[in-house]
Symmetry: C2
């Protein structure tokens, strides 16, 4: 799917993820493509008008909003769609019913994507007659800024669907990664939560505070891994001998850290102390500042690695 | 310790970490302070002349090198030092002997820092008569670029030593974090290795390849955590309810990921597959590109968060 090809994109669900995707698509949709938003909430048009500007740092986007086709009938929403992207509630029954209906009304070759962070496509597609069509396209929040999309097929999902989806995101300079297995939590969250588990352990043991731990990450792994992921970094760290050399040098230290790692669990009592510390040290986080800096960092990386910067949601780029 | 105060810094050990610290200090040393390098390797001066330019992307730094006092006697090296920073081999016996000697020859109030990534100050200081003086100052590699310094005192280290050390690094716009306990591997490596363990598990299970896993991190957690660490990010993700709200929403998914995490160990047989994949996919990593991009990212963050950019090792800034 080429980026200049005419595409009609239908978003199902106008929550935080859905509207963030709306902001992304509005910035990249070639004319005369159409962006349609379907949601069961009452007064949807007014809600979008009030909420969507949040994804543009409050800029005036009235002319952008006019391009959205707001629809309250699922049948109308999907009838002419090239891509149908669902970001509804994380509820298996709702999703199962939805995909059966969508399949019935949508064109036979439209792409069917779910943004779920946890319910595998194989579960969601149970009541579909053609299970080859459904694919998890899991973003990293917020998707109008972050480049990652995890593509997680069910064993039934067709390779064509995976490849067309990959081509779509690549043509928009995003980073779709094909996850080969329906693992719990996919990959990004599993990795992040593994680190979070040790972080919770260290904070509840009093080794560092919540904000000290964050500062450690912000001043070490964060910037490093923005440029070169963990394997690439340690492969470089091993010199000419690569990752093998790295483990040759400090494999014992790595194992010592693993042996000593805390295996905390949800509900074991660390919660109150850690939650309170986060609240005391941060209050309410300024996500606008965070997103502005993140955008600049991603621009630097694009510029350095691809020699060019591609925008994300500038309202003028239509 | 103010950044404009006259300081005589002595580096013990001219390996990769030692010379990277040399590059940092040379860029920040107020005149007429002195940088001294001591190492037992033969032909030390020529070695420094040949190796140090690597930390300046190969620029001509002949005038910078002239400022270094190259010394082959430990007594001469430490006699007038304000700060003595050791980055020698990771060998407990060597370090124990060294600190006893250093203590004997150095001024009574000089700061004694070890860059060790794993041998606690309490072990290293065994043969010192004044154990209050030694502090682990563990960098994130390479220290001439990365802002983090983990300050890990032994139970004997005095608070004055910790505070003077903290003041030194803060005055140079670095991020020293006081680790309250001598934990195995300190904090940064424990966190990184926890994620690495799950990364190895996912790759050896065939869920993604080495470079796909890296791309996932580079396009999600990396840039996010460069700006806001894991707690801050999830605290923001929970909206007004903060971290508590985050766990209220997806605590079960987090626990499911923890329950399903792979607990690989060194020597269990995953090594060959993962090492070979890293070699095949990366060959030799271009660390110069990595460091150049990392620098630009850190500059963006400094600019945004502090309204100003502070250089790291520009050879001209003397």
């Amino acid at each position: 799917m080429d980026r200049n090809e005419n595409v009609n994109i239908t978003l199902i669900g106008a929550g935080t993820i859905g509207l963030s995707f709306a902001a992304f698509h509005l910035a990249h949709l070639p004319s005369p493509s159409q962006l349609t938003i379907y949601d069961t909430r009452p007064d949807l048009a007014r809600y979008i008008q009030e909420t969507l500007p949040n994804f543009y740092s409050g800029k005036d986007i009235s002319s952008t909003i006019l391009k959205i086709n707001v629809v309250s009938s699922l049948e109308d929403a999907v009838r002419n769609a090239t891509i149908i992207q669902e970001s509804g509630p994380e509820n298996l029954d709702i999703k199962r019913k939805l995909w059966a209906q969508v399949e019935y009304h949508a064109p036979k070759d439209s792409l069917l994507w779910t943004s779920t962070s946890g319910i595998p496509a194989s579960h969601q597609s149970r009541d579909m007659s053609d299970k080859t069509r459904l694919l998890v396209v899991h973003p990293y929040n917020p998707p109008h800024i972050m480049p990652l999309l995890e593509l997680v097929p069910s064993p039934s999902t067709s390779d064509t669907v995976i490849q067309r989806t990959k081509a779509f995101w690549e043509s928009h300079h995003r980073t779709p990664i094909h996850i080969k297995r329906e693992t719990t939590g996919f990959v990004a969250n599993r990795l992040a939560f593994a680190l979070l588990r040790e972080a919770i352990h260290l904070v509840s043991e009093g080794v560092v505070s919540v904000s000290e731990l964050d500062k450690i990450v912000e001043n070490s792994m964060g910037p490093r891994w923005a440029v070169a992921g963990p394997f690439k970094s340690y492969h470089a760290g091993g010199g000419a001998a690569g990752l093998e050399g790295f483990f040759g040098n400090i494999g014992q230290t790595v194992q010592n850290c693993w042996d000593d790692a805390g295996q905390v669990n949800v509900g074991e009592g660390w919660e109150k102390g850690v939650f309170d510390m986060a609240k005391d040290e941060y209050g309410t986080v300024d996500t606008e500042e965070r997103d502005r800096i993140t955008r600049r960092i991603l621009q630097v990386i694009q510029e350095e690695k691809m020699g060019k910067v591609y925008g994300d949601v500038e309202p003028s780029s239509s």
